[in-house]
Structures are given as structure tokens and as C-alpha cells.
């Protein structure tokens, strides 16, 4: 049986949200007065295959 303590803790606490993706949702949360932060997420740029392989080796 799964432990549900962390969910009960969420139920009991003030909800604080990290928004990733649509900035619109962040604004909707702020309108409600919710404590929230927004992550400016962008898909990683497509690199040339050669460059990607080099980076893979270095990193």
C-alpha cells in the first residue's frame, strides 16, 4: 500500500506552484493570488549531429 502522507501534506498546505510551459497559466495563478514562479522553458535547439556528438563526449 502506497504511503499517502505527502498527498495529505499537499492537502493541508498552502499550494505553491512552479509553472513550466504556458506563461498564460502562470498569469491565471497570479490572478488567484497563488504563490507561483514561472520557468521560461524553450525546447532545446536542434544541433547538428556532429556538434551533438562532440558535446556528448565533452559533457
Amino acid at each position: 500500500m502506497s504511503n499517502v502522507e505527502k498527498i495529505l501534506e499537499l492537502f493541508r498546505s498552502e499550494v505553491k506552484i512552479v509553472n513550466v510551459g504556458l506563461e498564460y497559466f502562470y498569469k491565471e495563478l497570479k490572478k488567484q493570488g497563488v504563490q507561483a514562479v514561472h520557468v521560461m522553458w524553450q525546447p532545446r535547439p536542434k544541433l547538428e549531429k556532429d556538434l551533438e556528438e562532440i558535446l556528448d563526449k565533452i559533457l
Binding site: M1, S2, N3, V4, E5, K6, I7, L8, E9, L10, F11, S13, E14, V15, K16, I17, V18, N19, V20, G21, L22, E23, Y24, F25, K27, E28, L29, K31, Q32, V34, Q35, A36, V37, H38, V39, M40, W41, Q42, P43, P45
Partner: protein, 538 residues
Amino acid sequence: MPTVRNVVKKNFFRDSVQLLHLSEEAKKLPGVIDAAVVMGTELNKELLEKQGLLTREGREAGENDMIIAVKAVDGADIEEIISKIEEMLTAPTAAETYYYSIESAIEHLPGANLALVSVPGQYAKEVVKPFLERGIHVHLFSDHVPLEDEIELKRFAAERGLLVMGPEAGTSIINGVAVAFANVVNRGPIGIVAAAGTGLQEVSVLISRAGSGITHGIGVGGRDIKSAVGGIMTLLSMRAFEADPDTQVITIVSKPPSPDVQDKIINFIANEGKKKYVTCFIGGKDYEIPPVAKGRLVQTRTLHAAALEAVRMVSEDLYKEAVKKVFLPPEEVVKIAEAETSKLSEGQKYLRGLFTGGTLTYESLVIFQELLGDVWSNTPLNKDYQLPDPWKSKENSVVDLGEEEFTAGRAHPMIDPTIRVQRIVEEAKDPEVAVLMLDMVIGYGSHPDPAGAHLDAIRKAKEIAKEGGRHLVVLAHVLGTDEDPQNAAEQERKLREAGVIVLPTNALMALTAAMIVTGRTDEALVKSFYEKFLVGRR
């Protein structure tokens, strides 16, 4: 002569809602007749073409490219207009501090306990994992998340006692906070687990309108109740509600689960559950209620019934009051249907449902299958009734405008009414159409004034019918509360002023529409419908 100009920005990404906002701002620039800033998907190019906004340059854009399309008055400096739009595109979006990494965002929000993730589905796993590793619950709005990623994430989360709500979860309400698309509803003793986004919205709103309220509403995503995922989050949420001292009644809302998952749910209720339960497997078959669960488990067929039965489990008095005041009694429905049927002309025999909510579409299809037989749809119950072209209705049709073919690279129709507004006018030109059905979903996430945004089109549609000597019936259901930012009462008032008949639930809208197009307005039919669809089985 107006000039049309397209500028394509290669590999330039902005999300659909930002682009919608930008398009609206661009239209306000001096000299602009019409403008749109969109990603270059096939759908968007088609729509630009229809608007007379597409040029050869735009036609060549790919789906990772952005198109700035402008139609300007004769003599306007179109280059100047385009450069202004480009400036808006790169201007900082707000005077807020935004973060470029998940780590720094979490650091700056001590006590963060929920992540709302809406990145493209193929990236969902890499974005969600770091949150789960830090013990943070996730609401995953994204669609197109690979099934194996969903299973991996949910297993990983369940081992740690964390929620992954989604993917494709449009709605959750945690501690009164509306996450993604959700309404401002009363707090109360009913917990909701839903694998159906607008299903959660409708049930929570109806519970609230009936005078009760919810503890929390957990959206688990449509695939959670399928065998492959195995109901991981549905069952975990049920366990959490069982342990939550504030929750007295647990309501489960979904399309029919896979049989093995349905068995798990019912077995849990019977063998481990101690609380009262309402299930609403819309379109599912009745199941045998286990003897040990008799008296504390009710099964229902519609969202309307699920809300009412949940309220009934809280208080019989509230229930009686709600049946009378909030939900229309059968004789009222008969009155509306009779009055409207009498205004129709010979040859007006079909209904057209134009929906923004997936579950509301589905619920209507289930009801129509009973009352009308199969109807055409882009999401039909019977595959033989798949609309050959989702842009064109035929006979009785119900269209979910939130589906992929209408939303690729565009904002959802709950935010952007453009496509539905055009479709309303198109439907009105068909002399065989008797009834239009519209869902107006309000609350956080939705358009600031959906009723207002549809009024011109509704009036025009009625006018077109009138010119052809017909009466067009327009039915609507406003899904929301008076506490929502758009105010349900105000939305309903606007619609009524435009001659729209407003129904209190989606199920009643479907019943009324079916009665009008069939001309069957006898009270016996309505009563049998109420017994079958609007009351639970014990």
C-alpha cells in the same frame, strides 16, 4: 487596395496563447485591417488562407516557423507595422522575474509543492522527473506524452507517494486553487478523482451550485484508467481521500475504464474503502455493486447525476432542494421543448453540437445514442459515424472543437473562440438545422468573456435562419459559478438576451436538443430519461 504581407521567422517559437494575445494587439495597430501571428502549422495556414491573410512566403513556412501576417489599408506603411509587431514579439512579457531553469525556480519558491507542466509532450518526462525527485507533486497538462513515459513517471511518483495528475489533465482543484482550467467552487466534504477534464469541472460546479462543495479535485488524465497505466493515480488518489479527514464522499468521474481497472476500483471501494462513493463511468455498462459496499456506493451515468448523488450522500435535504431549484424539473423541460418545436419549419430536423469540452461532447454522444441513435462526430461512439470532414457537419452532428484537427499550433477553443464563431454562422446556413448546442466553459483558464465573444455570431446565425423563413433554436450550458471571474449569472444573462435558451447542465441540454429535433415532447419520455440518466443506482 489593401495590402497583405507575410514575414516568416525561421525556427522561432512562442506558445499558442502568447501568439493569440499578440495577434489581438497587432490588430489594434493603426492602418491594420486584420492581422495574425501564428506558428506555421497546416491548420494555421489554412485558416490564414480563409481570412485572406496568406501569401506565398507564408505558404512556405514550416511548423517550427512563425508567420506574421498583416492586411493593411491602402497607403499604410506595412514595413513599419511589421517592425512594431516584431518589437512586441521580443519585448519582455511582464515586469516579473522569470527563471530559466527548474532548479533556480524551485530555489526561489521555498516550500513549492506542485508543478504545473505544459511543455510539448515529448519533453514532459525530462521536465517532470526533477520535480518528482525533489518530492514535488505534478499536474501535467501536456498532450502527446508517450505512453511509456506516462507509465514510468506514474510508477516513479507512486513509489514516493506523489501525484502525477495527467498527462492531458485539463483540470485540478487543490485546496481551492484552480489549476489550469478550473472553477471557483465551494469548499465542502466531497473529493473528486477524474480522468475527464471537463467532467471534473462540470461535477465540481454542479456540486457547488447545489449548495455543497469539494475538498479537492484530482485530474489523473484519460489514460490512467486504461489497462496499460492500470489506474495508478486513480487508486492512489482514492487512498489519499480515504485518509483525508475532511473528505466524506469520494466521486470518481471518467469514460468507461478498462475492465481490469474498473475491477480494481470497485474492489478497492468494497474491500479497503470505508467512505461513501459515487462512480460516474459515462457511457459504461452498469456493474454489480458488491454486497459489502451496498448503501455506500452509487453508480451514475451522467455528470449531472454524479453531482446530485454526491450531494445526496452529504445531505438528503440539500439534495431535495437542489433537484427543485438548481436542476430543472421534467415539466419545465417539456415546456421549453414544446415551445421551441412549435416554431420550427418543415424540413428543420437536425441538431449541431459545437463543443469545447471533450467530456461534455462525449456525454452528449452517450445521451444521443439512447435518444436518437448514432450521430456524426469527429469523436463518434460508433466508428461508422466518423465525420468524413470535421469542418463540415452532416445530419445530426456533434463536434469536439478541442480535438487535434482544430488545435494544432493554436490556443484551445475555450480560450480562442475564432473557429467556433465561424462555425456557428456556417451551421445556420443549412436549412435542415433546427438546433445549435454550445457549451460555455468559464473559470480560470478560459476566455475572459466567452458568451460575449459568441454573441455577434449567435445573432447573425439567427438572422440568417430568419431570412430563410426559419427559427433557429440555440441552446447553451454555462459551466461555471457566480464566483468565477466571468460570473456565470452574467454570462447566462448575455446569452438569454441574444435569444439563447440556457440549460443548467450539459445532460439537460442534450435531452432538450433531442426532444426538439425528434418532436417527442411527451412527459413520459422525459420521466424515463430522468430515471435512467439523472438518478443513480444503488
